[in-house]
Symmetry: C3
Subunit: 151 residues, 3 copies
């Protein structure tokens, strides 16, 4: 099944492209695509905002990370045209807007990781870091950036 088919089957839609400044959504270098940091875009055009561990709980933050992964796929598709060209998702860096004392960043970023594995299977298995930020742009709860190899 194609990635587009799997997305439909899961009832998921990619959000529209979004940029917060003077940069592009993704750049290709050889067979690697470096994808810009993506936030948790909601269907209404807003974002999931707030500090995880205070305003946003772990389950909500995991869902926000999943939304970040979908927004990353929008950026990736804009660059490579066809998500079926995705080889391994090489590396993911997950930034969690963390309330003081919140230390479950891996559980949050699993929301992005699980979605990628569901969509891409073994090609979705990636290296990863998950870290706790003092602040994020527009107070978004989570931000995710990726490096992807394409065939």
């Amino acid at each position: 099944m194609t990635v587009a088919g799997r997305l439909r089957e899961m009832g998921l839609e990619l959000p529209p492209p979004f940029s917060a400044g003077n940069y592009v959504s993704a750049v290709t270098a050889g067979d690697l695509v470096f994808v810009s940091g993506s936030g948790p875009q909601l269907p209404d055009g807003g974002f999931v905002t707030g500090k995880v561990g205070a305003d946003v709980d772990v389950d909500q933050a995991e869902e926000a990370a999943r939304l970040c992964a979908l927004a990353s796929l929008t950026a990736l598709q804009g660059e490579i045209g066809d998500l079926d060209r995705v080889g391994p998702i090489v590396k993911l860096l997950g930034f969690v807007n963390s309330a003081p004392g919140f230390n479950q960043q891996p559980a949050v970023i699993d929301g992005a990781s699980k979605l990628l594995i569901s969509l891409f299977g073994d090609r979705g298995r990636h290296a990863r870091s998950a870290v706790g930020m003092a602040e994020l742009p527009f107070n978004i709860a989570v931000e995710v950036e990726m490096v992807v190899q394409v065939a």
Copy 2:
């Protein structure tokens, strides 16, 4: 026009090389150059320091990000010799030393991004993340790291 010529035209100078520890300014792997994190070096040898949103305002921080980009170009030039060999600036990661509640990291890091686009044109258009840090080395206001493709 060469990049050196464009820098002169804009009245800009690259700062001297700087290192804060046991690492090198840049490493080449194939046609990618990974540039170390660079801070906002001032002509007098000091750095722009302080929390953005408290000690440093957005305009000052945007100028600091521009200084980080210039310091990154010093590192890059030291590695590749000639800045006219720069292919796409592939990826930039911008760290903003953020006061509580400061969420305009993209506006700050635009200071680096705009300079790169001014100097390199379309080759300067990069993927990017901009995030808010609890602390940075020596309390610098901004730090920028880059991945660059060279011809």
Copy 3:
């Protein structure tokens, strides 16, 4: 001398593999290996935890960074089989769980950098950023991620 021999000579052992979620320890793309974020694993299976500059002093944090580098080598060895295949350690990103006002992140991450240079010689000289985090997973004191070129 092999890297394994040098580790023995230094009285060091690599810790067992560890993962905190739905990701893999390292992914190879061409001749680059992207290694997941690694924490300061202790021989007893625990981790060095706490805020650097408050609960953990600079010397303890430098030792923690060294433990992170050893854990990164476990991940790398799992991916490439033989650490003697390591070409340049290309890039290291060091995350320091920082108490308010702590700004010696480079001295902390030097613990990882010096170990890599001791083990790999010139091939261990890498580009680097060292930054101060609000929080880290499980409250670990330091986390390190790496990009490595292999022969």
